[in-house]
Symmetry: C2
Subunit: 296 residues, 2 copies
């Protein structure tokens, strides 16, 4: 491990400068305190069950309250159970929906709403959680993290939005702004398509199980849709965590992005000190920050 | 399709302004002329054959001449044939090597060299191809494209380097700068890990077949290595294209990144005009530009 020189106050009035080992990201996370973590809110967490494995999605109601509410209603009425992943486009997204959505055999929606107004951005005020990154971003004037989610802000109109980083979950729509409702969702599985930011409603992110989505065979049809319907990947169930028994739930925690530990961890990504690295980047791009998740 | 207003000289001295349809990226590529494309150089192209499919890699000798020469020697002496992909780390890289590399059963290297000096950057001069992007980048002061490859520059010391975008191919190494030689290579399969730029030698990019690498099951061991050796993905052969028969080769072409067509295509990514998009980004990040490849 390489050393860097730090100036540390060791007692009142006495400042000394000496070499200390700069910790790596994983060392910082390992050394974190329990207060640096928050429990994932079961009331805003979906468990998507595939035959290959479990995908856990945390929803962010503060960014898209109506869409999140509708998605929870859809999960609670069993809408997603038995649907399928229909699309896997390389370096872009997977998407699921009702394969019969456009036919007379479409699965009916019960209590949930259809065609919600867009929630591409929301207004923020001083109380809205946000920890900015120190670095420039090409797609927004300010980027950072809000309660564990990668997000951006426009201070001119006081709007904020979730960004399309790897693992972001969004609401598929047609050309009309209000053509999405949560009956079809997508997950980013490639390099962050940030040009989608503020063009489509993002509702949360995958906490664990990304590999079951990202490693799916790519579809050979246009936009990565499976042209062979035998390739559809069945969704067994999508349950809100509160519907599961205690033993079925994972006790997940997310690192608090408003903690000093997170800020230290960010700096360890901006300037990596592990011996392997020869030249610190002096920068970390928003979507290169993977906010840690652990099982309690 | 949305319209924008363009000012066009329609005859000498007459300028008129009227609404014209702004073309999308794919429309621009479809309308390109044959002079906008260059043939891929078979002398710098590797055909990696997996049982699932073919991966074609274009090497960039102008950025890493000694490593590219060594990799070509390794391919020509059959070093890679029968090796395996040992690692698939989600949202990061796949990596191949000799599974027995650290044992007495290691496959011998014949004419190729071991442990080359790093080629993290090279010097550029006025003749070195480069088309800059107009937009800010967090990891380098200037980014753009050089002969089809995503690259960056530091005008202060006149160095340039290939960037770690999706599909970039690099030379694995240990902690020492000169511990890489091409016997083990990696390919970026996730969000661009640009912090690796200038820390490791990049030698080229995947032109076609990324899906055979990106969709591999993720390894459960540390760093995504397959802990179960039965998961190793055999590499049948890696051949330099010039070693193949004419019928075995694909006639691939890459869009010229110094063409006006490419500049127009970049602008169509910066400000997308398809009806679906509601808010143009006004920006395109280097690794969101997929330089088109086609079969002649």
């Amino acid at each position: 491990m390489r050393l860097f020189t730090a100036t540390v106050v060791v007692s009142a009035g006495l400042i000394c400068s000496y070499d200390v080992p700069a910790k790596t990201f994983s060392e910082i996370i390992t050394a974190s305190a329990s207060r640096d973590w928050r429990a994932v809110d079961d009331n805003n967490t979906l468990y998507l069950s595939l035959s290959s494995g479990l995908v856990v999605i945390e929803l962010a109601p503060q960014f898209a309250p109506h869409h999140v509410a509708n998605i929870k209603t859809l999960a609670q009425e069993g809408y997603y159970d038995g649907l399928a992943i229909l699309r896997s486009q390389d370096n872009y997204v997977v998407q699921w929906a009702d394969p019969a959505a456009d036919t007379s055999a479409a699965k009916p929606v019960k209590k949930a709403k259809r065609n919600l107004d867009a929630e591409y951005t929301v207004k923020y005020d001083a109380a809205f959680a946000f920890t900015p990154l120190p670095d420039v971003d090409g797609y927004a004037s300010i980027v950072g993290h809000s309660n564990g989610f990668a997000a951006a802000r426009d201070p001119n109109d006081k709007t904020t939005w979730l960004t399309h980083c790897y693992g972001a979950v969004g609401v598929s729509r047609g050309s009309a702004d209000n053509s999405g409702d949560g009956t079809s969702l997508y997950v980013v599985t490639g390099h962050a398509p940030r040009h989608l930011d503020r063009n489509i409603t993002v509702v949360g992110r995958v906490l664990i199980g990304m590999e079951w989505l990202s490693s799916l065979p790519r579809g050979s049809g246009a936009l990565g849709f499976y042209s062979d319907t035998s390739q559809y990947v069945p969704i067994n169930t999508v349950k809100l965590a509160t519907e599961l028994t205690a033993t079925q739930r994972l006790s997940l925690e997310v690192l608090r992005t408003d903690s000093a530990t997170f800020s230290t961890a960010i700096e360890s990504l901006r300037n990596r000190t592990a011996e392997w690295y020869k030249r610190p980047a002096g920068h970390v791009e928003l979507c290169n920050v993977n906010v840690p998740v652990r099982q309690r």
